[in-house]
Amino acid sequence: MPEIPTQLPREITLVEIRFNSSLAILDMIQPITNKVCDQLGFDEDSQYWIWLATQEALNNAIKHGNKFDPNKKVLFGLQVDGGEFRIIIQDEGEGFVVDEVPDPTRKENLLKTSGRGIFYMRSFMDRVEYNTDKGTKVTLVKRHQDES
């Protein structure tokens, strides 16, 4: 039997889910995310925006990262560490250059019908970190009251 691996740091990871690329999983991840948000004392509005950011990141992982390939996995993790609530979404895609993503609020982009996902993540979270060394790993960070 293999050791339980420490893919995500186990002390601070509340729940870790690995699933096949499918949008259907979003319905299952939402109640888990909301429950943890609840426990951390986020009010309903905050929960709404945190889930919106999370959903955008999950969509990108499934669509742009794994390109809907059902054999590719998405790793989803919820961490609580030093007053920070962190949501981790990692895909097995080819990565991309975040700095090259056009700013959707520039005049020439305002009427584009896509390209606002990362912008919304940044708007609603305190911090958004991208690591594209291997696949794409997004870390959505929100500070919370409960300093546990």
Binding site: Y48, E56, T105, L110, L111, S114, R116, Y120
Partner: protein
Amino acid sequence: MKIFHRTSEDVTLLDIEGQITIGDGDVMLREALHALIAGGQKKILLNMARVTYMDSSGVGELIAGLQYVQEHGGQFKLLNISKKIKNLLFIAQILSIFEYFNDESVAIASFS
């Protein structure tokens, strides 16, 4: 998502129920608008009172819908957008491209 059709004078009202997100509602909304334009309806009012959730794909569909209707010489307006949806459009700096109303009769009267 569900879409219910109504007409009031020469305005077509689309009552949207549910969420407009990637894979749920985005394509449906597009198809509904294309069908209306194909059928010669040019005054379209989207009632979003019962939209529970919308993400960036939904925002994209609203913009696509507006452009599509305008390109075909029609008018596309929004009714009863929630504070949260208004916020989504506002921070993306596109709230101002939409005409939106909170009163149905005022909205209908606004179509020329």
